[in-house]
Symmetry: C2
Subunit: 328 residues, 2 copies
């Protein structure tokens, strides 16, 4: 591997000069520049990001912490982040936390060790812990798709409560009164918000022990299981509202297997609007979150914070959109 020294020697200049032409910092005469560029070309020289990071204290990498790379929603967020970062010359380290708080923390520690300049976080619960770890290095964090109340980090999310509330009101307006809910993972902000919105929109008492609510946990299989459980306990449900699309899809699959027609026998509603939602049959009625755009915007926020660390954290809330299709 050629180094900057080799280039300098070949071009007959000092290393400082090479650095200057490569980074466009400081004045260089046209002929010198040409000579340097020629040497770079001839040697196939590529500056070492490691050495550069050593002196600049910047690695030009940002981390993305996601709960579950198997749920299409998250990769979509990741792509948004990656596209924005790549454009700005940043590399992305993608880490999956598997819905595990421990792993979320150890992933943050890994990012810190790797010298990540910042991180985009879809937290599974301990946003504060992540912020503490990365903040020690002065690395900004932006939390996406969740609220991180009281944390001095930028936040970007849809209004989960409002999205679910509107969806459920719409379900009710269709005449449904016996509606079951497939809840997301306990302790996860978005999941709790959607559950609360469901309860409120149904005007049900959260303390009531006989509520048609089952934990599905955002997964396809969880959706299948929870649908089975719910319809076993409440056979007369006319609609199932799932906390996200993947579990709604699970419910759909279980219903199909049981020979129950959707939406004629029973309605199903999701949340997220992942690609599959519009493609399955019947197409899923759901609440749209702009995953890619959110990832992209989150990265922009992060890059901004990196560029001028002075500005305080911002907080953006997007309005989710009810997408009415065929499943309810």
């Amino acid at each position: 591997m050629a180094t900057i020294k080799d280039v300098a020697r070949k071009a007959g200049v000092g290393v400082g000069t090479v650095s200057r032409v490569l980074n466009g910092t400081g004045p260089v005469s046209p002929e010198t520049r040409r000579a340097v560029l020629a040497a770079v070309e001839a040697l196939g020289y590529m500056p070492s990001t490691t050495a550069r990071a050593m002196v600049t204290k910047r690695t030009q990498t940002v981390g993305v912490l996601l709960p579950d790379i198997q749920n299409p929603f998250f990769p979509m967020v990741a792509r948004g982040v990656e596209d924005a970062c790549r454009q700005a010359g940043y590399t992305v380290i993608l880490l999956s936390t598997d819905w595990d708080r421990e792993r979320e923390l150890s992933a943050a520690a890994l990012l810190r060790r790797q010298g990540a300049d910042g991180a985009v976080l879809v937290s599974v619960g301990d946003a504060a812990g992540v912020h503490a770890i990365l903040g020690a290095r002065g690395a900004p964090v932006v939390v996406v798709d969740r609220a991180a109340p009281g944390l001095a980090v930028s936040q970007l999310s849809v209004d989960h409560y409002r999205g679910e509330y509107e969806a459920v009101r719409w379900v009710r307006s269709r005449g449904h009164r016996r509606v079951g809910f497939l809840a997301g993972p306990a302790g996860v902000d978005s999941a709790e918000l959607r559950l609360q919105a469901f309860l409120d929109a149904m005007e049900w008492d959260p303390a009531d022990p006989g509520l048609p609510v089952a934990r599905a946990g955002y997964g396809f299989e969880g959706g299948q299981r929870a649908a089975a459980e719910l319809l076993d306990r409440f056979p007369d449900l006319t609609c199932l509202v799932a906390a996200n699309d993947l579990s709604a899809l699970g419910a759909l699959s279980w219903l199909a297997r049981q020979g129950r027609r959707v939406p004629d026998d029973i309605g199903v509603v999701g949340f997220d609007d992942i690609l599959l939602a519009s493609l399955v049959h019947p197409a899923l009625t759901t609440v749209r979150q702009p995953a890619y755009a959110m990832g992209y915007r989150a990265a922009e926020l992060l890059l901004q914070a990196l560029k001028d660390p002075g500005r305080g954290p911002v907080q953006e809330t997007l309005r989710p959109e009810l997408v009415i299709r065929d499943s309810c």
Copy 2:
């Protein structure tokens, strides 16, 4: 951020000693070790991977190049790689190439700049190019899920041809004679192999212009489109064989929309055995590729090559397994 110097000062020892206790290289007296560890603890010291990389020439990171992070098969491979790497203390940089040869190459260049020690590659076509780029830095590459004929890199793949061949023979044994094929992306090794196997198993002439074959390209939507096209041109098909599960799922969804019963009216067969395949209704008959295990094994091969660069590339071929479910 505390540095090794701070630790040394606080512990009243030289930096060399600190390095020795942290890396377990060279002898240290128990008391010194204790003092150093205490200082590390007190200062919350974390060694800079950057500085370390600077001298060791190893970044302890490996890249994973995947065609499409939206297809569940690839994230599953990625998880296998990540788990194996994390265990060995390596960080993974996950890059999506979007079925684009250009991006595959630029991703490789990025890995090289980042100083990745090696890479796991699910190539979209230019494995040789990637190898050339990374090889210049002495970074080994292992190609997964594809053959890279003539390339001096380790390779790990299922026998796509055999898997598809057996699947199609089984389809025929069920009495199907008019069978359509939803082909994968052109120029991609696994896709070409499966197509060839299909043709051979059907004992059809590849040159025949009237073959019931349509490009679906490994995506869900492609599967829907190709199924529609195929059944439009060949209404009497009794079975659809898709080059992968995602496109098979697309076909399934289109068929459901058309009110065609699977498998009664028409059979569907996939390839991959992604999680969804067993969960949809009807459950998909498919050819299983052990995605996670392949990723894990590929990482092992890579780590091995990193540990002792002397050994030449190895080549492992797994036997795919026909999984008979309900769709055919």
